[in-house]
Point group: D2
């Protein structure tokens, strides 16, 4: 099993959970999906997040899915499991269970009821207490889904208080100034170094986020090679190339980022790419119309053309 | 096992979940609590609701608690189990499990993400589909906790569409006009007769709600005899007596209804009354201060005096 | 004109805005209402708040109403004007206008968009800047209407930063611990003494709030003599009498506090008491049903009886 | 004055409100801004919207700004004024005032307190009643700012009930299915034909929205020629050209659409383009950092290059 630590870099894929057309877990697609991500350069996986339809699984299904992913990954990259829960007893239970199965760490977002800075800080003290000293964890800052706004100063205080929180999943928007502020806090020694992976708008600000000090991306866009290519170009210092790759994928990435139907778009693309067998989303969930599918086809064709040109120019 | 049906009346207690001082489930207090409620005239119990700290229990703890309550009740009154869940697979799993154990039905509130009438109606069609034809269920209308506003016309449409929804837990506020409208809909044959139990503000409008056609109360005030007495006086046609009993308890009921610390007040009172051993609330949860405790003592003493006078006048 | 200062005590009435049946401002009722409040012992008035339907008035109507109230009060008690606004230019304009007319100060709540402690503190620095050194002002802490949760530590920091904020309108719930904490902060010299008037639930926790150090009430219950009597009994050290008076009014006060139709109940009661001519609420606004009116009548009759008994026992 | 009617097409610019560095209204920049928009092909203007900082203006400033814009436009294109207000009396007052000055119509969004379909429909009946038969108006559907979700069926019912609502500003997301449904409703005669202008994400879905039947765009991107070019290409049936133009501007448009700092980015770009003199945003408002400015410069340079290539390929 790969360890999750403060120096994690690269592209962590937020995986979908593949279902068969009848809604059952599709374990064979789970294997193909893992291969698909790793072959395209993923340096980590994050499972059972919002886009993984975690809340629509039974406890038993969750365990089966986690076990399948871990078996297929076979220790090649770290696997993070979403562990946000309405209470600490279920959070402890879920965490213990997935760490036993071989997960590298868990990811926790603030409970939707939190409002004041004090409440948020107290909550993450309890999270630290619940997870204990053996479990590296990721702080997920995603106000769109939680409704909880954490100021940069609050995030740094959480990171200071929580010795085992080794990574920040940065998804606040506008978030560039916040990312700069948090990175500055570890740069000047206020807090220990933390890995920051950016997921804002599903990666829609990735080049700029890398420019502010992000270590990579944690997002689920159906073309992982976009994030991998952008990160590599950035690492090599080629800012224009970084934007060129990003821009080539942006029209489709934007379409996949529509709230509500985004997950259906993503699964549709993954089926088209051979990564999973069915685009099934469990209820309640979106369905694509013929017009949506035709929009996607046009965007994919145009993207293919741009990628060819980009290759030629490279 | 007692069946839950459209003619249910009386007082269904929203139970707490008793913990020991160390936070573990307290099964012996669970038995005492069941006795406490039934001895004071409860005609039903509702377990694993919000005030039952359901989200703070592990799956295993939930099963143990449900089993303990059902064993102690031993079929004397119906037991309803909260089954609101973020997804339908866990809702189906939980429901099957508790019905197997002997529950009489489940209670479901709308998912917090729902907004439009169409979304709400579609959601409850899926709930009906998930629960199936064997499980009688209760529709919980509690906008304060869910954020979902259901118009009276939406509630009646849900009731019309869902043949196995036999009860409405009415907790919208202002809700008297809504209660009148829904009762009118079954009175004039638009929908089948439905049992309506009122829980608004923990029973703070009970006399008026009975006046609008409620069949009783579903709430958790630490003095169940208040709701029982109010319902009996109402049933006997003695409106003044109904209010006299209610008014005697109102100052303390109001104090117990404070959002945030209400559950701590309730458990404190239940300890004082010998119903449970510890006032422990699992984290994150409120703690009472010395001033809170002194407020409660004063209110209890004054209530005792009023109840004596009321007895004398009875 | 009476000054608003840090030692303000007693009962500030949140006034309604009287309209004629056709919806026009009713200035003659405005005079009667002012007399009604002052004759019953109000030590201040607060106009153009939420329950004053401020947002439903044109700018010209607001000016006319403020002028009428100030003329009738004629300097006998301080008059506070609600000045919460979506922007600082309109806040400055409104404040200048009402101070010119003779108001004693203004009341400001946090903008509904604020979330983090930093945002809230920065906002009130701008409020201070906008109002300037000549205008005493009241901080309104009312999460139910604003959606903004301010921790006790944030309120004390605002009070520390804002030398001209002389009063706190305390309406958070649960709020007793918060009230204790803020009072402790001025008691031990962390912040200058501030007047704290309680308005929680329209006064539904007044006896307990006085016990925690509130200087009085700011609320709009149609029986101002309740708040006046409770405050006087508290001031004289007679805690039981304080509760006796409170309890006598509680069943009706509770009914008037229903969200949504509360203002219609209040205006109905004020018409019945001869304080205003019409119960008209401007659209969009609630209307009472025959059942509502009958509920109110019963509650008033029962209250009259209790008050008689209380007088006999006094 | 140009009339606003059901056949309106093209690009309506959501204007900013130009301020001088000291925060005062900048009327000379107002003239330049009007010229800038019209020279680039705007077929209408919308003023005093959210991005126009309407709530930060005094009533007098609003009047001055409206008068200045109308004078400069001199009847060449329709001018719509935002008239959403917390009450109907101010809405009527503002509408009468701006129509007197020569506006072509007003735009109204649902009040943030509305939740159920019934409440929303009743609200817009009151809006119709308030605006009367002389004022053409635009329904603004923007859940991100109002928090109000209107189902497609609700929008069509509003349009059916309101004979003078001639235009829909479509800003719900995901919104393509909704747009299709509303367009279908007028195509099949359920409702009268209505002009639909798309503003989703500031135009980030414009090509797809035109494909679903939108008549054009209403948005404020600092490069109006993007929207104009996209609409013209679409009208001429050249879908690829439509996307080519759109894609060329997308990376910058995306950056300008960041919530929170978007308006500062827009004003910065408009200063750079000579449309206004100062990027001043009134408090509380965002400020750009040096890193933000450097991001923008890079995006503009890359955009200029793409536009050159696009011209060459045209």
């Amino acid at each position: 099993m790969k360890t999750l630590d403060r120096n994690a870099r690269g592209v962590y894929l937020i995986t979908v959970t593949p279902f068969a057309d009848d809604g059952a877990l599709d374990l064979s697609s789970t294997d193909r999906m893992v291969d698909f991500y790793l072959e395209r350069g993923a340096t980590g996986l994050t499972i059972l997040g919002i886009m993984g339809e975690a809340t629509k699984l039974t406890a038993e299904e969750s365990r089966i899915f986690v076990r399948q992913v871990l078996a297929r990954v076979a220790g090649r990259v770290p696997v993070i499991v979403g562990a946000s829960a309405a209470g600490f007893a279920p959070m402890r239970e879920l965490t213990a269970s997935v760490m036993d199965l071989g997960a590298s760490g868990v990811m926790v977002a603030p409970a939707p009821t939190l409002r004041t800075d004090e409440q948020i800080l107290a909550y993450f003290d309890m999270v630290s207490d619940t997870l204990g000293p053996q479990v590296p964890w990721v702080l997920q800052d995603h106000p769109v889904s939680t409704g909880v706004q954490m100021a940069a100063s609050v995030v740094t205080r959480i990171l200071k208080n929580a010795p085992h929180c080794v990574m920040l999943k940065h998804e606040d928007c506008p978030g560039l100034a916040k990312l700069s502020a948090i990175r500055a806090a570890d740069a000047n020694g206020d807090i220990p170094r933390v890995s920051i992976l950016a997921g804002n708008g599903g990666g829609l600000f990735l080049p700029e986020e890398l420019g502010r000090g992000a270590d990579g991306a944690m997002t689920g866009f159906a073309y992982p090679e976009m994030m991998v290519g952008v990160c590599q170009a950035h690492a090599s210092g080629d800012v224009q190339r970084c934007h060129d790759i990003f821009d080539a994928y942006l029209p489709l990435a934007r379409y996949e980022q529509q709230p509500g139907i985004g997950l259906a778009v993503r699964k549709h693309l993954m089926v088209a790419r051979g990564a999973i067998a069915s685009a099934m989303v469990r209820r309640p969930g979106p369905r694509l119309s013929a017009s949506d599918v035709s929009d996607i086809q046009r965007l994919v064709q145009r993207q293919d053309k741009r990628l060819q040109e980009l290759g030629a120019a490279a």
